[in-house]
């Protein structure tokens, strides 16, 4: 077997690699943030009482679920500047292109998640909020949003992990994220196994960290009182003790 642990550990700790990880994390977070915001907007349009707005939202979801993320990424990077002069400027970096492409891709999926979430919230919730005299903005932010966040944390966490992996596509537009860095190093050393393993380890670690964050987040959205939380924790301990 041709595996040199020293090369592997060198890869794990090389500054170039770590810089790639940094770009991967930044792209994931920024693209996800824009994707969620746009997705929420699309979901709200989808629920609009006005048919043309619903049609726009439906069309958006239809198009962006159909186009492969890689095709759209290349389109944004190579074709968009030819179509729209504004994208010829210096600001339009590989990072900006990847952010736009991945965010627009994510928005289509997030919109469906938000739509499902909105439908799952009992109509009585909105009715009660309106009956109290809340204006529409407060009905949304104070009553609908907290319940929407709770039901969408699990599916959107999935999207987040997908996004983390999709950022590797940006290597084809020469964004120096984790995969691009790996390929550069592989090209000069031909140590495929060590470098690709090191990259895989980083993805694994990033996803694991995120899973811990997700668990924390979900716990914050469990709506039980301190009393019940402590008694149920206690009863869990008792159950465990009884099992022994």
């Amino acid at each position: 077997m041709d595996f040199k642990p020293s090369v592997f550990f060198e890869a794990l700790t090389s500054p170039a690699f770590i810089d790639g990880v940094r770009v991967t994390i930044m792209l994931t977070v920024v693209a996800m943030a824009f994707g969620l915001a746009l997705g929420l907007l699309v979901a709200l349009l989808r629920a609009s009482p006005w048919a043309p707005l619903r049609a726009v939202a439906w069309g958006y979801i239809w198009v962006f679920r159909a186009i492969p993320a890689l095709v759209w990424l290349l389109f944004v990077w190579d074709a968009l500047p030819q179509l729209v002069p504004a994208f010829k400027g210096d600001w339009f970096s590989a990072f900006a292109a990847a952010t736009i492409a991945l965010a627009m891709n994510e928005a289509a999926y997030a919109a469906e998640v938000f739509r499902g979430g909105l439908l799952s919230i009992d109509e009585g919730q909105r009715l009660a909020a309106r009956a109290l005299g809340m204006p529409p903005s407060k009905v949304f932010t104070k009553v609908v949003a907290p319940q929407l966040i709770r039901v969408t944390i699990p599916p959107l966490s999935n999207d987040f992990i997908t996004m983390l992996k999709l950022t590797s596509l940006a290597s084809v537009i020469s964004l120096q994220e984790l995969l691009a860095r790996t390929q550069t190093l592989v090209a000069s050393t031909f140590r495929f196994v060590e470098y690709f393993s090191a990259a895989a380890i980083y993805y694994l670690v990033l996803v694991s960290i995120f899973m811990v964050i997700q668990a924390q987040l979900e716990r914050r959205f469990v709506w039980i009182s301190q009393q019940t939380a402590s008694t149920s924790a206690l009863s869990r301990v008792r159950q465990l003790a009884a099992l022994r």
Partner: protein
């Protein structure tokens, strides 16, 4: 577990001066519906509903399923636009404004302000699951009335205690019985200092042994002079507490009489049949 006694609910010290429900008015009715019409598609749900509720009176509304009772309450609470007719609160027409010589529906923000004058209690409680009992009672005060968190907490805590739930203030709805949830829902509406309270079958979703505790709060409210419209199947409550009883059928009021007359000598054949069926 014995229930703690109920406190004074319509308290000026708590709700602020004046207690809207107790205010002397010149209007003949606190709440008035005039020839309400409401249609869903081709379904004429309300076909000319007219009645008024005097200050401090309790109006019980009976009627078969699908007769439009809930729809009527939602229209009175401005939660649903009406197709024709008027809703008047203390003599003033609500839900509309004049624009170029015509009456048009108010924009949503202005409607919201008018809704806050009317308390509404739902069959399925509709408490907010992400808030504690206390949070549910506070939210109208902070988000609609613009009270500070500290003020709202104090008022909400007192009101929760007065509906007998001081011990449960920090509980979420999954940790409350149906009866307790409904009492929180009543407290949530009450702290807004409404001019009138509308109840849509407030005990229908409750286990029989929990009905009494909710009716007790409502009776206390009635005794203290709250103006109320109560859609209910509780004939006992209607006999005991209501000043007048309405029979709804097919989207119209077919009988409107004091309870003794309503139950003792109903004028309408359908009322008689309905009363036989529920007894």
């Amino acid at each position: 577990m014995s229930e703690p006694p109920l406190g004074h609910l319509l308290d000026a010290g708590l709700l602020g001066e004046p207690v809207a429900a107790a205010r002397e008015g010149t209007a003949e009715y606190v709440l008035e519906a005039i020839d309400l019409h409401k249609r869903y598609g081709h379904n004429d749900v309300l076909r000319g509903v007219t009645f008024g509720v005097h200050r401090g009176d309790v109006k019980a509304v009976l009627g078969p399923s699908g007769s439009g009772k809930s729809t009527m309450l939602r229209c009175l609470a401005l939660l649903e636009p009406i197709d024709a007719g008027e809703v008047r609160l203390e003599g003033r027409r609500i839900g509309v404004r004049e624009s170029g010589g015509r009456l048009v529906p108010l924009p949503e923000r202005a409607l919201a302000r008018e809704r806050s004058e009317i308390g509404m209690v739902f069959q399925r409680f509709n408490l907010f699951p992400h808030l504690t009992a206390l949070g549910n009672v506070m939210i109208g005060l902070t988000e609609v009335r613009g009270r500070s968190k500290a003020e709202a907490r104090e008022i909400a805590q007192t009101m929760i205690a007065r509906v007998g739930l001081a011990e449960r203030a920090s509980f979420y709805l999954g940790e409350l019985s149906g009866g307790q949830q409904q009492r929180v829902a009543i407290a949530r509406a009450l702290v807004m200092n409404p001019k009138v309270m509308l109840f849509d079958e407030p005990t229908s979703a409750l286990d029989p042994e929990l009905v009494g505790e909710v009716l007790a709060v409502m009776e206390e409210l009635a005794r203290e002079g709250m103006t109320m419209v109560v859609v209910t199947h509780e004939v006992g409550f209607a006999k005991r507490v209501a000043d007048r009883v309405i029979m709804m059928d097919g989207g119209a009021i077919i009988e409107d009489a004091p309870p003794a007359e309503f139950f003792g000598n109903p004028q309408h054949e359908r009322t008689r049949k309905f009363l036989e069926a529920v007894h």
